[in-house]
């Protein structure tokens, strides 16, 4: 059952002019969250902005005794709520409803995990890589950003034993271009007999490309879709995505309840706005 907590900001770490990480005191949400789940955030009291916005749980936070104390959000300043989240001070409180949604399925060895992230789409992979490490799954993060300065938490992922493959739009770090470049190379190089599960989160065009690319190598991709949501609980039917399963008709299903994680092969990408 999701909870709505008035989570206190423990720290607000600005990673760049646009990105920040908000550490929030919310042990129940942190304890309950599974990789790929999200919270609905209301950044300020009052009616402007009115609706909450969905955010992936970024990290699960622990104290020195390893007790869970809360979670963090990876935020990119683009709109009203994200500007507010960028400007929060320690001690401020924001309402967080969650955790919500269908999480990633966590694979088992010997299957390997390849996580593909674009920009703020890095968010769900911190918790996923932590769980993957607990299961001793060999994990790679393919991570693309605009420039080298837009690639964050690389050391943290390395500490979780994650192998990194990077790409930037301007070529300042890793491959020059989309994250699909190192991904395509890796898919071509790996023995087809090696079982691999792909996970993708980022811009829709990126997830579509990743899903299609993986499919050409017979690999399945779980994608975490980012739709506009009104409620996060299935009440409003605003966050629907076109899904086709088992050769049946395309149906608009709620990404808050059936997702946000979907099998990329079931998403009717050409109909996804």
């Amino acid at each position: 059952m999701p909870l709505d907590v008035a989570a206190a900001v423990v720290s607000n770490t600005h990673l760049s002019n646009d990105y920040n990480v908000l550490a929030l005191a919310a042990p129940t949400v942190g304890s309950d969250a599974r990789p790929g789940q999200f919270v609905m955030v209301k950044a300020a009291e009052g009616n402007d902005p009115l609706l909450r916005r969905p955010f992936s749980v970024f990290e699960v936070l622990r104290d020195d005794a390893h007790r869970i104390t809360g979670f963090s959000l990876l935020n990119k300043r683009v709109g009203v709520t994200t500007r507010m989240l960028f400007a929060l001070q320690p001690g401020d409180r924001i309402q967080c409803l969650g955790p919500l949604g269908r999480p990633f399925s966590v694979t088992e060895p010997p299957e390997r995990a390849w996580m593909v992230a674009g920009g703020v789409g890095l968010a769900p992979f911190a918790t996923l890589s932590t769980v993957l490490r607990e299961r001793q799954i060999e994990t790679t993060l393919f991570y693309g950003g605009r420039t080298a300065d837009d690639l964050f938490h690389l050391d943290e992922f390395r500490e979780r034993g994650v192998h990194l493959e990077l790409a930037t739009d301007d070529g300042s770090r890793g491959d020059h271009g989309n994250v699909t470049i190192p991904l395509a190379r890796a898919l071509g190089n790996v023995d087809p007999g090696v079982p691999i599960r792909l996970y993708a989160c980022g811009p829709t065009a990126m997830m579509r490309a990743v899903s299609a690319l993986a499919a050409t190598y017979g690999r399945a991709t779980e994608v975490s879709l980012e739709q506009v949501m009104g409620c996060g609980l299935g009440g409003c039917y605003s966050c629907v995505v076109p899904i086709r399963r088992d050769g049946g008709p395309t149906r608009l299903v709620r990404s808050c309840l059936d997702g946000p994680v979907f099998d990329g092969g079931t998403v009717v990408w050409e109909a996804l706005v």
């Binding site: 059952m1 909450r52 506009v228 299935g234 009440g235």
Partner: protein
């Protein structure tokens, strides 16, 4: 002092005046983990046609100042699946169920109502003649006095359950539609549905909603909705279910004092699914503070003495 929050909408008894608004609460069962449905006055489920409907493609909502536009397009599972799959669950949760019905034709409204009349656990039928987002049915009937009368009369003929037409605010004189609904045999009216509205992305010069137009809800519309409830109360002696941007108990009380016997809460539930207890507590506190034993005694107690009312 304990207070009595129960109200009656025709023959329908509600334990309190708070109803989850249609289109804002799924089929109710989605919220059963978060809200004890039996503590609500009622649950108005998402509008149902005879058959399944896909609704509009995204983008389906956009936020606006103190409000939101929606153009969902009445995506739904159809009345038969609702009766088979959802209604038993709602009964098990102890919910008072108000089923919102739609139709492309008057015959379809009547057929949906007939199916519900046979079903177990339908507290009332809310007749949606006011959805601004669909081409056929919806507001097409609700913007015509004759259309309103004909739909309500057709539903009235096939069911003994309380019939509650949901009125659109997108008319010049909403009270005349309440009169038509009464004349056609309605047990109550609910108002308002959303206001037809539009938002434009100036960078692309494209409408922000896929359907171009949508319905405006939220606190932005509340003063207009309160005025319309007031007008209907003056025009007809029929129970009114008021709604439009209720976020707090005080907001709900405005509608009740203006003449609503019960209220529906929609957008606020998106913002805070735990809003119900806060509203109930607020209503109880108000009654105690004003030494009122029953909330039904507060309905329509607006005092306009000494105030001019020119328009």
């Amino acid at each position: 002092m304990s207070v009595d929050l129960s109200v009656d909408i025709g023959s329908l008894h509600l334990r309190n005046p708070l109803i989850a608004a249609s289109g804002c609460f799924g089929y109710g069962v989605e919220y059963a983990d978060v809200v004890d449905l039996s503590t609500l006055g009622g649950v108005a489920v998402k509008g149902l046609f005879l058959d399944e409907r896909e609704g509009h493609p995204p983008a389906r909502i956009v936020e606006t100042p103190s409000g939101m536009l929606n153009a969902i397009g009445l995506q739904g599972i159809g009345v038969r699946r609702f009766v088979d799959e959802k209604l038993p669950q709602l009964r098990a949760h102890g919910a008072v169920v108000i089923v919102n019905i739609c139709g492309s034709t008057i015959d379809e409204y009547a057929e949906v109502a007939r199916i519900l009349d046979d079903a177990d656990g339908v507290g009332a039928i809310e007749v949606n003649i006011s959805c601004p987002n669909i081409k056929e049915g919806g507001m097409m009937f609700g913007c015509s006095i004759q259309g309103t009368y004909d739909v309500v009369a057709a539903v009235r003929r096939v069911t003994q359950r309380p019939v509650v037409p949901k009125l659109t605010p997108n008319v010049t004189d909403v009270a005349s539609f309440a009169v038509a609904a009464r004349d056609a045999g309605a047990d109550a009216v609910s108002l308002v549905n959303t206001f037809l509205a539009m938002a434009i992305d100036v960078e692309t010069r494209r409408p922000k909603l896929s359907n171009v137009l949508g319905g405006l809800s939220g606190p932005a519309i509340r003063p207009i909705a309160v005025r319309m409830v007031h007008e209907c109360r003056q025009a007809v002696n029929l129970p009114i279910i008021g709604m439009g941007g209720i976020m707090t108990a005080s907001d709900a009380l405005e509608f009740i004092i203006a003449g609503a016997s019960a209220v529906q809460v929609g957008t606020a539930n998106f913002v805070d699914p735990f809003v119900w207890n806060k509203l109930l507590t607020g209503l109880t506190d108000y009654l105690q503070r004003h030494a009122l034993a029953k909330i039904s005694d507060l309905v329509g107690t607006l005092d306009i003495s000494g105030k001019d009312h020119d328009v």
